[in-house]
């Protein structure tokens, strides 16, 4: 059973009417397979939301640490005027895992806003991709988007990839995109060691600091869980 793959294919749809607000949080730690990539869940999920009415808000928050392969793009269609869409994501991959995740923000109404914060962490021989679309329709006056896509690499056999798509058809749109790629440096780990913090704890500290912006979006009890999960998923990946 553990040597084979299982499929998890879920569909979630959210509808927010006028002035309604939905916050949807996920922490996923399905079986990722063994170190060599044997077994594990295929996690192919469809998640969509629509802000139907004016001033509606949908916020997706996800912490993805498990599954052999994850394909997942929680999206928001911003149809109502002044509606808001948010996507906060931390995706951790280790060993042979693959995660391909991101979001779509479709701006249709006027004065719509979206915010994307994606934090990828790759270790071992894993591959981690952000794939996202920001689309501003012709009549979507004054649309605003801010995207931040950061990647953190541990070791030199893993990969991080960023595929942002921006399709802007209205000149009043303000779209900002920021991306960084960094490495957990030996010198950071040594600095922690020198203060009495062992390497595992140092990695947990650095990773949680890096993912803080997303983790703080989670409900309290989830956040504590997620922090521990990050540490466990990365166990043995440095040193």
């Amino acid at each position: 059973m553990r040597d084979e793959h299982q499929l998890h294919a879920a569909v979630v749809e959210l509808v927010a009417h006028t002035k309604a607000e939905i916050k949807y949080s996920t922490v996923q730690n399905w079986y990722p397979g063994d170190k060599e990539g044997k077994g594990g869940i295929y996690n192919f999920v469809t998640k969509r939301g629509i802000c139907m009415g004016d001033s509606a808000k949908i916020s997706w928050t996800q912490v993805e640490t498990g599954s052999a392969i994850t394909w997942k793009y929680p999206s928001v269609i911003l149809k109502g005027d002044n509606s808001i869409g948010e996507f906060y994501s931390v995706a951790v991959t280790n060993n042979r895992q693959q995660a391909d995740t991101g979001t779509k923000m479709i701006h249709i109404g006027k004065n719509t806003k979206s915010r994307i914060v994606s934090k990828g962490i790759s270790a071992g021989k894993s591959q981690n991709s952000y794939r996202g679309l920001v689309e501003v329709h012709r009549r979507a006056e004054n649309a605003r988007n801010f995207s931040q896509c950061d990647s953190l690499l541990m070791g030199d056999k893993c990969g991080a990839h960023t595929f942002p798509y921006l399709e802007i058809k209205n000149s009043t749109a303000q779209v900002e995109h920021e991306a960084t790629t960094s490495k957990i440096g030996e010198d950071q780990i040594f600095y922690c060691n020198q203060r009495g913090i062992d390497t595992e704890a140092a990695v947990a500290l650095i990773v949680n600091g890096y993912a803080k912006e997303v983790l703080k979006q989670l409900p309290m009890e989830f956040a504590v869980e997620a922090q521990k999960l990050l540490a466990i998923s990365l166990e043995g990946s440095v040193g």
């Binding site: 600095y191 060691n193 009495g196 704890a201 949680n208």
Partner: protein, 250 residues
């Protein structure tokens, strides 16, 4: 407390320390000076356990144990503190959070209960006064975007929080204006007790006007070639290192 005998160390196959001897007793302050590239920072790194450096010969006994056998974190937990020449930046991790983790890891190792949030904050407030550092700086990501002076003061603040037995200050005085230098020196002086020791690695005699050492050593070509008291440092300031080099080659 610390006994270094015939220490040889290399990086990338190149020998930097070539038979270094040093004895440090509790309550003492030692200053290690020397021209650029003489091995001062290598010594500090080897004592703290930086892995790039390979110890090829000799021994380091610290309070009766073989220091070189210990991992970097265990050296820290045993009371060795290195104030880094170039403190490292860790984005997203506040100084407060970092130190809370460090203090409690050290306590765990020593079989002590972790400090709770209130106890920790009380201790922090007390030590903050010592080095004149403010709360805003401690809430920011560790060392990120700090100026040189802020980083160095933060190192001394960490020193105060961790209360080590042996503090090694690697060029902590470099790049400080006179006010910052005084704050750093006062911090070190206030933390001085009969049971702990300080090793100052420095480039500039000026620091020794504020922290008075019991011994001054000159490191040259990987070895301590001359030892003396504060007067030796004054001589070095006045005459430079050339006369030492001549003495060595003579």
């Amino acid at each position: 407390m610390l006994s270094i005998r015939n220490l040889h160390a290399a990086i990338d196959g190149k020998e930097i320390l070539k038979g270094l001897n040093l004895e440090v007793k509790a309550g003492e302050i030692h200053a290690i000076m020397g021209p650029n590239g003489s091995g001062k920072s290598t010594l500090a790194s080897v004592l703290a356990g930086r892995e790039e450096y390979e110890v090829t010969d000799g021994e380091v006994i610290y309070n009766g144990t073989d220091l070189l056998e210990l991992s970097p974190e265990d050296r820290a937990r045993e009371g060795i503190f290195l104030a880094f020449q170039y403190p490292v930046e860790i984005p997203g991790v506040s100084t407060t959070n970092f130190l809370k983790t460090a203090v409690n890891e050290v306590r765990k190792y020593r079989g002590q209960e972790p400090l709770d949030a209130v106890q920790f904050l009380t201790r922090m407030k007390e030590k903050m006064k010592l080095v004149n550092i403010d709360q805003a700086l401690l809430s920011r990501s560790l060392n990120e975007g700090f100026s040189g002076g802020e980083k160095k003061r933060n190192e001394i603040f960490q020193l105060a929080m961790l209360e080590p037995k042996l503090a090694i200050l690697d060029e902590t005085d470099s790049g400080l204006d006179i006010d910052a230098l005084r704050i750093v020196a006062e911090g070190v002086n206030k933390l001085r007790t009969r049971d702990n020791a300080v090793v100052l690695v420095t480039h500039y005699q000026r620091l020794l006007d504020y922290i008075v050492p019991d011994f001054v050593h000159v490191l040259y070509k990987g070895r301590i070639v001359k030892s003396g008291t504060k007067e030796l440092a004054l001589q070095l300031e006045e005459k430079g290192y050339d006369w030492i080099k001549e003495e060595v080659s003579a």
